[in-house]
């Protein structure tokens, strides 16, 4: 793809030593194709990734890999919780009240609440978002989240959902799992028929990822 001998690749003046070293390095370039065994191994990895992706889209949240500590922290709730599938998104029914809170509630540490995590007829959901499929995940998730700007009477989150509060900004904010980690999904106020959705880091509200969708 590149010519190692191309003179315009580097405008640095070379000392004679540097010039010799560059020639020796160019001569030691690896031109061999990827060995067959490595190619086969990586193809297997790709197959596993594709299978994992299919499983995620088919909603098998209990099999989702998490860091060990998180897996333990979630274990009790996960065993008790019923996994529900809405629109192809894997969702966890973890707490009895609505998952969303107003973004204007800056004090909302999502771990607050202390309510029992018992599924009920009005189970809310904890969307799982993934960076690789963020737009599609968010599109499906917003279907089941409270409407934009809806402010609940109190912040709601599952008792085991650990997410330090921060200044989430305007719009509505919802607890989510993002690439296996707790995060907040902020649905910004719509403007000009569009609505920005931002995944915010717990404790800092740093934007981890964002997509813009048609306004609901």
């Amino acid at each position: 793809m590149h010519d190692p001998q191309s003179p315009e690749k580097d405008d640095m003046p070379d000392t004679p030593d540097e010039e010799l070293v560059r020639r020796l390095l160019a001569d030691a370039r690896a031109d061999e194709p990827m060995p067959a065994d490595v190619a086969a191994r990586l193809e297997g990895v790709l197959d596993d990734l594709a299978a994992e992706r299919r499983e995620q889209s088919a909603a098998t949240p209990l099999r989702r890999a998490h860091p060990v500590g998180r897996r333990r922290r979630w274990a009790t709730a996960l065993v008790a919780a019923a996994a529900v599938v809405v629109g192809g998104v894997s969702l966890r029914a973890l707490w009895p009240e609505g998952p969303g809170s107003s973004a204007s509630d800056k004090s909302s540490s999502a771990s607050s609440g202390g309510r029992a995590a018992s599924p009920s007829a009005e189970q809310a959901v904890l969307p799982e978002l993934h960076s690789a499929t963020l737009e599609a995940d968010v599109r499906r998730a917003v279907v089941v989240l409270p409407s934009t700007g809806a402010a609940l009477s109190q912040p709601s989150a599952p008792p085991d959902f650990a997410c330090a509060g921060a200044d989430w900004g305007t719009g509505s904010v919802h607890p989510v799992m993002f690439d296996g980690r707790a995060a907040m999904l902020a649905l910004r106020p719509p403007a000009h028929g569009r609505q920005k959705a931002e995944v915010l880091q717990c404790g800092t509200a740093d934007v981890l990822a964002s997509v813009t969708l048609p306004a609901r």
Binding site: H2, P4, D10, E18, D27, A28, V38, H130
Partner: protein, 222 residues
């Protein structure tokens, strides 16, 4: 490297993968895998670690494809993911600095095979390459990665800086320091000619001429 006559452009493949296309990423990876392998191999120093680094990168790229901002070529982004994975491994494991004589380097090298008509020359080149790779393995990971991209892969410095996500000046500095260190190592190994001795004070003997003092002649730009 984003427009391809032999299929969908790289960006299209990446976007298709993010949108859920099951085959797009495999096609994209297959398109670049040999050069990515070369970068991983030369950065890590041996095939086993290179395969591990490339696997890390493959998983990261697959899962983080949605974070590709489109401000660089997809191939640049892929190289960045691979180099980062390899450098992370080198740093985390504090890989033995003397890995350069690993299996890969013991095998006959293709360039040497090309000199088969002159077995003596082929052996000399093979030995020389082995020493060069051993010396490369002595460099800090960031310098090694810079030289692999610029001097081995022939990547323009601007693109190499983008791959390594460093300012251009930093990239040039890494290259310069890496080459200077390599020159010392290769001189010690006998690959480069020794530096002529500096005359001691009071030495009345005239110094021999130093033919290499001037920059090497360059071909005029085409």
């Amino acid at each position: 490297m984003t427009d391809r006559a032999d299929g969908r452009p790289d960006r299209e493949l990446l976007a298709a993968h993010v949108a859920g296309d099951r085959d797009a990423f495999a096609e994209l990876f297959a398109r670049h895998r040999d050069r990515l392998w070369a970068v991983a191999l030369r950065t890590m120093g041996n095939p086993e670690d290179a395969a591990d680094g490339l696997q890390d990168a493959l998983v990261a790229a697959y899962r983080r494809a949605g974070t590709f901002r489109g401000d660089a070529a997809v191939s640049t982004w892929l190289h960045r993911v691979v180099v980062n994975a390899c450098v992370d491994r080198l740093r985390a494991a504090s890989v033995r600095r003397t890995t350069a004589l690993a299996d890969d380097h013991d095998a006959p090298l293709p360039a040497a095979a090309a000199d088969a008509s002159d077995p003596a020359l082929a052996a000399e080149r093979s030995d020389q390459r082995r020493l060069v790779l051993a010396a490369l393995g002595e460099l800090p990971a960031d310098q090694r990665a810079a030289l692999v991209l610029v001097d081995m892969e022939g990547m323009p410095v601007l693109e190499a800086a983008a791959v390594l996500d460093v300012p251009l000046g930093t990239l040039k500095s890494r290259c310069s320091r890496g080459r200077a260190r390599l020159a010392v190592l290769l001189r010690d190994a006998g690959v480069l000619d020794p530096v002529p001795p500096v005359a001691a004070e009071g030495n009345q003997q005239p110094l021999p001429p130093v033919p290499s003092a001037d920059p090497p002649a360059r071909a005029p730009p085409g």
